[in-house]
Symmetry: C2
Subunit: 391 residues, 2 copies
C-alpha cells in the first residue's frame, strides 16, 4: 500500500536515534545532546511577555500572519545585520521556524535530483539527512583546525559543479572549530567566481568564550552569493522555534513560497516573544549569563580531558558553542567506546555519524552545555576509564 | 546565479497574491479571506495558560521537544479520534504546525516527480500549489452538491493510477459543500481496492450550523488507506499553528522524518496552549460561541443573495464552515466582476483560481466569518449591483 517516494532510499537515521532513545534513562550522564541548558532560558521574562501580548494583541497574534514573518521582528533582523556591517532590506529577510528550516528551504529552492551540495567534513547530521531527502549528492570538503581548506574547496567545485556549499563558520557542529579569519573572504570569492551559493549557518556565533569575533561570510558578499541563517534557539529558546534567513531577494521569495507549504508562517506568539525580548534590551546581559555558564563547563571538561584522558587523545580548538571534538588514537573505534560507556551510564555521539562520507571511526563529539559541573566530573572520569581500557 | 530547482516551473501564485495585496486597503470590505474571526479567539484563557505554563514548566516548554509532538496532546488526539469511533495509538499520530503542513508531508512522503494526485474540482488553492512543488500531476475529480462523484473517481483512478486522493469532506474550501453520507464508505472502499491513499483534510468539520454530523472517512478505513488531518486553527487559533495527522504507523513515521527538516517540532508553547485549553473543558462551549457567530453571518449573507442578487445566481448548499460558493449565469466572468467590485471597495476570490484545470470563470467564493454583519450588508449590496450590471 505504502509506496513511499524514492527520496527516502538510503536514509536510515537509526544510529543516532538509537543513541537518543538511551537518553531516556535518567541515570545516564549525556554528553550526546546539543541542547542549551534550561538554566539559561529567560522563563520569567517570556512568561510576562506572553501574557501581556496575548491580552493586548491577541486579535492579531492568534490570527493567521504573513508567511514572511512579523514585520517588527524582520526590522530587528535588519538591524542585527547592520550591526554586523551588512546592509539588507525587507525583501532580503524571512523569519523561519528555527534556522534548520532554512536547510530544508535551501534544498527545496535549489536542488534537483542528483545536484551536488558541498558540506564540511564533518558536518551537522540534520543537514545531511535533510539534503538527502532532496536526492542531492553530498560532497564533503576537507577541513582542519581552521575550518574548510580552500584548496580542496576549489578542487571539489571544479570537479562536482555544486549548487551550494553548506558551512557552519563559528564553533561548528560537531567539530567546535571556527573558520579562520583569513579564509572567510577568499571562501566567498571562490564560490562567487564559480557561481556556487553559500549557505552560512550560524546558530552558535553569539556564544564566544575566548578569542576575537570574526566577520560573517555574509559581510564579504557582494552579489547575493551568501544566504545567512540566524537562530534564537541557543540565545533565547529552541522550543519556540524562531530563526531567520538573510539573502538575495529572489532566493528569499522562493523561501517564502516554500514556507507556505511547510507551516504557512512561524507562530506569531513565538515571533512576538523574541521581538519583545530583544526590544526589552535584556538580550546582551542574558547572553553574558549563558556564556559564563557554558564557558565554565567547557573549561572544566577540557581540563579533565587534558589531566585524565590518555595521551594521544586530541581536542579540536574550540572558542565557543556547545561542543568539544575528540580524536582518539588511530585504531580505536568510538562506537566500541560508546557501547562500553553507555553500560557505565555515560553517552556521547560517535563522530562517524557526522561524516557524509562515513569513516573517521576514532572521533567523538562531547556536548558540555546541558550537563552540570558535577556530572561533567563524574561522566568524564568514567569516559577516561573506558578510553584507557580501549587503548 | 540563482538556478532555482525545476519544481517552481509553472508556479505563479500571483493572481491570488495580488488579491490579498488589495486587502491592505482598510476601506475594502473583504469576502476574500478564509480567516476565522478574532472575536472568536479565547485570548484571556490562552494568556493565562501561557504565563502559568512558562513559569511552571519553562524548563521543558522552552527546550527542544520531540518531533512527533507533546505526548499529552497526542493522547488528546487519540481521545478525539476515539470519540469519532476511530481506534488509533501513539504510532498513528503526529502533531503538525497547522494541518496544512500535512499536505507538504503527504507530498514529500509519497510523490516522485510525475506521480498523480487526485484533487476535488474545485479544491483548496494552497494544496494545488504545495502539490505542484513536488512536481506532481494534478488530476481533478468531478464534484456536485454532494461532493466527489464516485463514478468519476473510479474512472480517474483507472486512467491515471494516482498515489493519493486529496479531499476536504466537510464544508469544503472553496465550495462549502459536504461529501454526502452515502458516498463516504464507498469512496474509501474504491480507493482501498485500487491501492490509492486518501488524504482527508478536515479543518472545518466542527463548525456545522445545520444538518447532521457525518462519519469521517477515517472511520471507514480498515487498512491504513486514509490519513486524516485535524486542525485547531478554526476552533482555537490559526496563529499558534497546531494541527495533527492520523494515519498508518509507517506513513506517520515518514511524516516524522519529514518534519525534522521542516521545523524539528511544533513550538511546545503552542502545543501546551491547545492541550491546556482542551483539558480545561472550555472547547465545547467555545465552539458553540463560534458557530453562533458564523451562522448568523452565513444566514444573513445567504438571505441577501436570495433577496438582492439577480436570478440565475446559484449558491452551493452549505451547512457549515466559512464559505459560500456562487455560480453566476454562464458567460459572466467573475474576474470582471472582481475588478469592478474592488473599485467599489468589495473583494472576493474569483472561483477559477480553485480549479487545478482552470476554467469555471463564472464562479466565486465568498467568506462570511471575518466580516461584521454591518459590513456584510454593505458589501453584499455593492456586489449585487456589480453583478446586475455585468448581466
Amino acid at each position: 500500500m505504502n509506496q513511499f517516494a524514492e527520496r527516502f532510499e538510503g536514509i536510515t537515521g537509526s544510529a543516532i536515534r538509537e543513541i537518543f532513545k538511551l537518553l531516556a534513562d535518567p541515570e545516564i550522564i549525556s554528553f550526546a545532546g546539543g541542547n542549551p541548558s534550561p538554566e539559561c532560558f529567560p522563563k520569567e521574562a517570556l512568561a510576562d511577555i506572553a501574557k501581556q501580548a496575548l491580552l493586548e494583541n491577541g486579535d492579531w497574534i492568534l490570527q493567521y500572519g504573513p508567511t514572511k514573518g512579523y514585520a517588527p521582528l524582520i526590522d530587528e533582523i535588519i538591524g542585527m545585520m547592520a550591526a554586523e556591517g551588512v546592509t539588507v532590506n525587507v525583501p532580503n529577510v524571512i523569519i523561519l521556524s528555527g534556522s534548520s528550516q532554512g536547510l530544508e528551504m535551501m534544498a527545496k529552492t535549489f536542488i534537483n535530483k542528483g545536484d551536488v551540495i558541498m558540506v564540511e567534513s564533518p558536518t551537522f547530521l540534520g543537514a545531511i539527512q535533510t539534503f538527502k531527502t532532496y536526492e542531492a549528492e553530498l560532497v564533503p570538503v576537507k577541513t582542519d583546525d581552521g575550518g574548510i581548506l580552500l584548496e580542496d574547496l576549489e578542487k571539489q567545485i571544479k570537479t562536482h559543479k555544486p549548487k551550494f556549499l553548506y558551512v557552519i563558520p563559528n564553533f561548528q557542529n560537531p567539530s567546535g572549530v571556527t573558520l579562520a579569519g583569513d579564509r572567510r573572504q577568499k571562501l566567498v570569492q571562490i564560490c562567487a567566481e564559480h557561481g556556487v551559493l553559500v549557505l552560512e549557518d550560524d546558530p552558535y556565533g553569539a556564544l564566544r568564550y575566548s578569542g576575537q569575533a570574526l566577520p560573517s561570510l555574509k559581510s564579504y558578499d557582494t552579489n547575493d552569493t551568501v544566504i545567512r541563517l540566524m537562530s534564537f534557539s541557543k540565545i533565547i529558546s529552541p522550543g519556540i522555534r524562531v530563526g531567520a534567513a538573510v539573502g538575495g531577494a529572489e532566493a528569499i521569495a522562493k523561501f517564502e513560497l516554500c514556507k507556505q507549504g511547510m507551516d504557512v508562517h512561524t507562530p506569531i506568539l513565538s515571533q512576538v516573544l523574541v521581538y519583545e525580548f530583544l526590544k526589552s534590551g535584556q538580550l546582551p546581559a542574558h547572553i553574558e549569563k549563558i556564556k559564563a555558564n557554558y564557558k565554565a563547563k567547557k573549561d572544566l571538561m577540557l581540563k579533565l580531558i587534558n589531566e585524565t584522558f590518555p595521551k594521544g587523545v586530541t581536542v579540536a580548538p574550540c572558542e565557543g558553542g556547545l561542543f568539544l571534538w575528540l580524536t582518539l588514537p588511530a585504531g580505536i573505534d568510538a562506537l566500541d567506546v560508546f557501547k562500553t560507556a553507555v553500560e557505565r551510564k555515560v553517552a556521547f555521539v560517535p563522530g562517524t555519524h557526522f561524516f557524509a562520507e562515513g569513516g573517521h571511526e576514532n572521533t567523538m563529539r562531547l556536548n558540555f552545555s546541558m550537563v552540570s559541573e558535577d556530572k561533567i566530573r563524574k561522566g568524564m572520569a568514567a569516559l577516561a576509564g573506558v578510553i584507557k581500557e580501549a587503548l
